[in-house]
Symmetry: C2
Subunit: 404 residues, 2 copies
DNA sequence: CGGAGTTTGTTTAGTATCGGCACAAAAGAA
DNA sequence: TTCTTTTGTGCCGATACTAAACAAACTCCG
């Protein structure tokens, strides 16, 4: 079978071209069987069989030819496809306002090991990245797995192609810190194999939700989220992040949603950033930020336990109206087929979904684009999973080239 | 050579895969010689030669092997490539507030025949489209050329996949008119060969500018224009129109650029639509729209001949500031690498480029994304050329399949 | 229980689209 | 003229498929 030990000249350069798409289908759960793989790829059964066999030989997927559960329909049951649990992993890392976290993530977005994370954050990016990579390296040693890449999520816009963090506001890092180079450096220093990538956390969360969460099947996915301070946005078009020409697309924080609103550091007033983040919510509800828990946690607790309180409810409705205005503007410009909200925005959606949807529909230009589904994100640690997606991407693009 | 009269089973289905990219390179002028084609395609000289020969055999391009002008460098001079002037054409049609126009457009965006157009516009879309298609059919008969498709530009958002005009405001057409189907019907009735497509005029103008005008080489091109009433936007990403999930992306007219501004039919105030279009300019300059010429022509005359007038200059500066605010919002969300302005916006840019660039830079989040080049469009009738691009697209995607 | 029908996997043969290589052709430079 | 540089062309083989026939594994129905 596939005596492929012959001359592999062009194989190494271009690979089997259906290999990448096939792996992506299995990776995202869209090809549970070989028969589905055949139709999704639009190739013959012979080709799909060869591709699946080659991916299995690479240790990336498992082809289960045993009968298994009845398929439900008649005809010969199809071989089941699944990512290989014992295959290679990538190192995923995330830095946020309250600490950092490292994890090993297998194909399919499955987290196979997580370090507890840390709550002390230094103002020196190199030190923080060194610590998080060290945790990842420890996980790798324990697991004994092969590592094929690393990804890092940071709460800041990351300029391409330089890989610099332009506004790491709540990390106390210097603006313009070369996070990508620093991360690559630390990964190399720790002896971890494979390429290393860096991206904005909301962008990566959107990527993760598109592949493994509430965004599956969407072709134009808009994601908006707020974690601690400020608001992030992301757009996934046909399965790829829309990063703009220099990685700065979807910086939605300075859409005006309240002309007489709070002053913003950008010089304007009533920006989405300062009108719909957790601090704005606590402020609108007349609460002072307490010492316990992050701003997001305090806001979430308030929304979930004291929603009956008049001031809490009024604050929620005010934020929902502002958020809806911003979303409507984005919907008019981007025309997504799905919107996913994260962080506090997800909590606001849960609190009063009808109100948010009504505001968006009212301010959208046409009924249909205004009736775009607005959903809550569904993955835990979606930025972390998204960082792993970044690292997996070369493998998904060309498995043969990436693993040799 | 290439005795290709054998079995053409898969050829008909998939075509030579480098054929489309090669034709696109010649079409957009990025492959003036066969040597450049070789490097641009990233294939061997042998492959590029075969591809060029096949495109010549199809009657799409001409390969000029005569010495010609000295190449400037040493070595054997490369064969020159050009689109075939005598090859097939597409029918391009445009409907706007002041009339309609039909033309025949060859590869390379060259208009080979134009009908004078008409100034009377009926409120019945079928009648207008029938007349413009009839003019196109007459041009075709005169020219004796082969027609491989037709494209139509309309001043309205066109919903996909239905092909309906959602807001044909200044045509007095009913909202939701099925323009795509009507156009296809008229094209079929006139006996014109090939598929027929319909698109928004600003979208198509952006496509044309990207391929043949000021947008060449851009990977993320933002285009904003205003012709008569209202403002249109378009985004071309990696050479393809970004239409959103249902064709409604880049409907930028209702960005708020002046919270205390003019009321807009959308229910809000100070929208880009009503703050930066020709009517807004005439209003700001204290002039009543006259009976002679379109609003755009009147505005242009005023700007070019009476810019010294205090009221005209003040009006221009007011509109520039509003437009800059809107552009800055779009730049923050889309992060384009180039911005092209059309219609009155182009005139405003010409009137005071420094002011407009300063406003955009000031309201953009980071210096670099704010310093995006802002240029005037360079093509005459760019919507018409864009409509032709739409019709050429199947040929550019797969020349063999499209011509058989 | 057993055949018919259905769906999927596998084998074999064939082919389109390239890459690699050697050589020829057309220019400038020495 | 001769050498060097650059480009075009013919030939061979490899890759990644398709097509078609056959085999396998299940359901359905009598």
């Amino acid at each position: 079978m596939n005596g492929k030990a012959t001359t592999t000249r062009t194989r190494l350069e271009r690979g089997r071209s259906a290999l990448g798409p096939a792996l992506e289908l299995v990776h995202t759960g869209r090809a549970p069987t070989r028969a589905v793989l055949t139709s999704e790829l639009g190739v013959t059964r012979a080709t799909a069989g060869a591709v699946a066999a080659e991916l299995e030989a690479l240790g990336l997927i498992r082809v289960d030819s045993r009968p298994g559960a009845a398929a439900g329909s008649q005809g010969r049951p199809s071989h089941r496809l699944a990512v290989d649990d014992t295959g290679p992993v990538v190192l995923a890392a995330q830095v946020h306002a309250d600490g950092f976290r490292a994890a090993l993530v297998a194909l399919g977005g499955r987290t196979v090991a997580t370090a507890p994370g840390c709550v002390t954050v230094s103002s020196d990016p190199a030190q923080v990245l060194g610590e998080v990579v060290a945790e990842g390296a420890a996980l790798l040693r324990e697991s004994g797995r092969r590592c094929v890449g690393a990804g890092l999520a940071v709460p800041s816009a990351v300029a391409e192609p330089e890989g610099t963090a332009l506004n790491p506001l709540h990390l106390a890092w210097p603006a313009g810190a070369p996070v990508r180079d620093l991360f690559v450096e630390q990964v190399r220093a720790a002896g971890i194999e494979g390429p290393a990538f860096t991206g904005n956390d909301v962008n990566l969360a959107a990527l993760a939700e598109h592949r493994h969460g509430a965004g599956r099947g969407s072709t134009q996915l808009l994601c908006v989220a707020t974690g601690h301070r400020g608001v992030g946005g992301a757009l996934v078009v046909d399965g790829r992040l829309h990063t703009g020409s220099s990685g700065l697309a979807l910086e939605v924080g300075h859409l005006t949603v309240n002309p007489e609103g709070r002053p913003c550091h950008c010089g304007s007033r009533g920006c989405l950033d300062v009108e719909t983040d957790p601090l704005a919510f606590l402020d609108a509800a007349g609460r002072d930020p307490g010492p316990e828990g992050s701003l997001l946690e305090q806001s979430r607790d308030l929304l979930r336990t004291e929603y009956a309180d008049r001031s809490v409810r009024a604050a929620a409705e005010e934020l929902i109206d502002r958020l809806g205005l911003g979303l409507a503007g984005l919907v008019n410009i981007l025309n997504p087929d799905r919107v996913i909200l994260g962080g506090l925005h997800r909590e606001l959606l849960d609190a009063d979904p009808a109100r948010l949807r009504a505001v968006v529909a009212d301010r959208s230009l046409w009924g249909r684009s205004g009736s775009v589904p607005i959903l809550a994100c569904t993955l835990d640690h979606n930025s972390l999973v998204g960082a792993a997606e970044l690292a997996w991407q070369p493998v998904l693009d060309d498995p043969l080239a990436a693993l040799t």
